[in-house]
Subunit: 279 residues, 4 copies
């Protein structure tokens, strides 16, 4: 693991921000190895992500930056290291399996602390990779009781991110609110969009020529939170609903991994209901 | 232009259909150079498109086929030749221009009879390609009166297909019903979908990562008819609404041309609200 | 597993072939559920793949078909069932892992009999999925001796297909000749192409904007055999050689699975050095 | 046209570069509206493109910047305005037509000064858009004589960029050397690559599943200069060489326009034989 640090700043746009921020880094003798800034001109807001090499006193630098930036500025600096994550799943193995195998072979900058599921059918999959599996049944339980069980597990594990790898239950606003900007979800996406059950069946009946997947942050009071990544695959009339589902699963797992890596590397800012990503 | 013929058959599925149909062609001494069949097993319906080389008496073959097929069978056989089309547009030049330039250089198996528009701003574009331009203003007119003007133009031109190349008015069910399966439209498509005005502005604000275009047949009493072709392009937060519109225009023109060629070559069947395409 | 059968025919093109072939099936009372034919007009050769439902006496039908077809015709009919395959790998886990996990969850119409490798580093990966692992070291051995060891393993396992899931050794013409049309390989592909070592490093230095993967049959005396499937992903200057390799691995595993499924379902014909695929 | 300016800097990497550069802009009261930097760590080189709003004295700022940067630094600042370009073509209309129509409708930040061709067949196409056409025949001429004619035309027109829109002649190193980094070319690209004549025929015979196009800068003594943009489309065995050529043309025109816009907006740096693009 490198000695690199990632600095993230967001504040109202103003002249001289980059100059001031890079001045603090320069005076600390740090070398910028990757830098991205963006001004959302619609709302006049400035976003910056900077990766620096060299020994850095993050606390001191953050304090110094706050002196040069407006009081409302959000400043964060962390060492570039593996993040602790928990994977939520229900019964579908494709996303969970892909994440576990990438994790096992060092492809993810993450420690997978555990798999949490409302079913026990994926226990053997987690077991293959020696990852702890918490079975928190939801059937016949009130949502509050189920989420209390989840929270108990999470309070012990203290993950930095929760990844809904085809977790097929809706989380309450209260639950979501406790992990603001830290829960990622993946869902299938179609042109046109379909509501309700059996979306792949509907897609087959509607004869769509492209299907896709969208990874997004989960937010309360919103169907879909800020979009992180999207992908598509072509399909045609010869594909059954089950063929389409299979193609959809492949794109889901690629898109979820892509989004998760962006989150783990601190590359995503949320501005209103959209993301700004320094890739 | 070739001496090829395209035979199209659709009927309830049954054993032996391909054998019977190809038997008729074989006894006529015709060589099959391209063949596609599909059974929509959900509804038990058979579709077949066959391209044959050699001199063929289409009328006789059609009559012969009907003897071997159930009475409800829809059988058509036409010589492979350029089709007559009319292009409808409003003010955006990207789709119209692309079609006109392809037409001018022989890329489309079509004769563009005319451009029809509710504005006069694209008259010079049609003029560059020496294609007649009919200006049928709609402002301040009742829809019936406007459509009556359109119908008058069309009744003289007798096009086989009408291509809505960014024609920004909704056609009445009555109008659409007169050209069943013969009007193609292109529209932008997003994940998620947006209703209402300024879709590109909405897409930018929502931070979508992919935008697309859908070409479809226009049908009465339906927002979107059977989908013929779809395409997408990636976008990101750095794209303004106008950048997204520009990217969208590029994919629109590619997708509309693709759909139009499929229609002109008789490759599309409509089954319920979906298309079956022998590409 | 279904009672379906897949019939495959290839022969010199002639009038009436489809009629004759479907006639045999019709007289046997079989229902065609999927059918594809193609005539490679450059060489005048006919290819047909037909999937039929219902109890079928494959031996009898094949014999009957041979009566109606020219003597050189290649006719095969097999019940649609899982095929036996062996996976070859070296040290990279991405393709092997993806195939093993898909196999474990029923996504592949195949029985993975074993993993064979010239290294022992992927033994634990095969072990997670309880698939036998044969370690056949190649270092310090003559190619003949190494391949003799491979052949000994294969003669016991009798796989229908061998999948080179990043097996990094070149197989001799003699070895390849024993499994004609039955060995699949995946390799990275670039625009422009790079020869020699460290292709990802070269791609990064050359600043390519797209990288890809090609799945193909392995043939003797040819660098690359007939291409089955290809895929690409965009990259840019900000991607290091290692980022490009990672993106390349993702596309490799998707493309290899796609190609393998096409082979397992009998959808691929080889004509000269190209494939004809009924997808 | 905006009052924006684009500043471009490249030099050996060192600590504090961004701070110093943005300091000069800040002291001039300029607001940064878009900024991109990249360090090519392999060769220790720094690249930065900054777009600023507000009245700027480019000469003064450039001089000021040079005081703070190492003597070898390459610094340029220009007002964001339409660039003068000349289009070279031979006989294929697809790229030329697409550029002319985009130009006519304001999609390109460029003034197309003229079309130059070694054939006269595209004269009518340029004429449709009222763009001057220079016919400089090459047949039966020595390359020197032909290029002398081209240079005479160009010396009068003084274009900032030359776009080879399917110009099918090889330009001499001497010619290319006079327009370093200012000539863009588009060519078809395949996986695997094909040398020699009839590449689409070869692609069809080889059964490739993807074809593409590459836009690049033309450089002396190199087959292919730095790649700017690439695109691909899927094809299959049912596509004839002519179908593949048609699909290839569509991707060529999209990719060439994309590359040209990047060049016109000053978004491309060349580092060795690769490009760094701030998109």
């Amino acid at each position: 693991m490198s000695e690199n640090h990632v600095l993230r700043v967001e504040c109202a746009d103003a002249k001289g921000l980059i100059h001031k921020i890079t001045g603090v880094l320069y005076r600390q003798g740090l070398n910028i190895i990757e830098n991205g800034e963006f001004v959302d001109s619609e709302i006049g807001r400035f976003f910056m992500r900077t990766e620096v090499a060299g020994k850095a006193d993050a606390k001191k630098i953050t304090a110094e930056l706050q002196k040069h930036l407006p009081p409302e500025a959000i400043v964060g600096m962390v060492r570039d290291r593996k993040k602790d994550i928990v994977l939520f799943a229900t019964t579908e193995p494709h996303c969970l399996g892909d994440l576990l195998i990438r994790h096992a072979y060092g492809e993810l900058p993450a420690n997978v602390l555990a798999v949490v599921s409302n079913h026990d059918s994926l226990k053997s999959l987690a077991g293959r990779f020696k990852v702890p599996y918490f079975y928190a049944p939801a059937d016949g339980k009130a949502r509050e009781a189920h989420e209390a069980a989840l929270l108990k597990i999470l309070s012990r594990l203290k993950p930095e991110y929760i990844v809904l790898a085809k977790y097929m239950r809706i989380l309450s606003d209260k639950f979501v609110g406790r992990f603001k900007g830290r829960i990622l979800n993946i869902h299938h996406s179609f042109l046109p969009a379909f509501a309700g059950a059996s979306p792949y069946q509907q897609a087959a009946e509607r004869g769509v020529k492209i299907i896709g997947a969208t990874a997004h942050f989960v937010t309360p009071a919103l169907d879909d939170g800020p979009i992180i990544a999207q992908g598509v695959v072509p399909v045609d009339h010869s594909h059954s609903a089950s063929d389409i589902a299979q193609a959809g699963h492949d794109v889901e797992k690629i898109v979820l991994t892509k989004a998760l890596k962006l989150a783990l590397e601190g590359r995503i800012f949320v501005s209103g209901n959209k993301t700004i990503i320094f890739d």
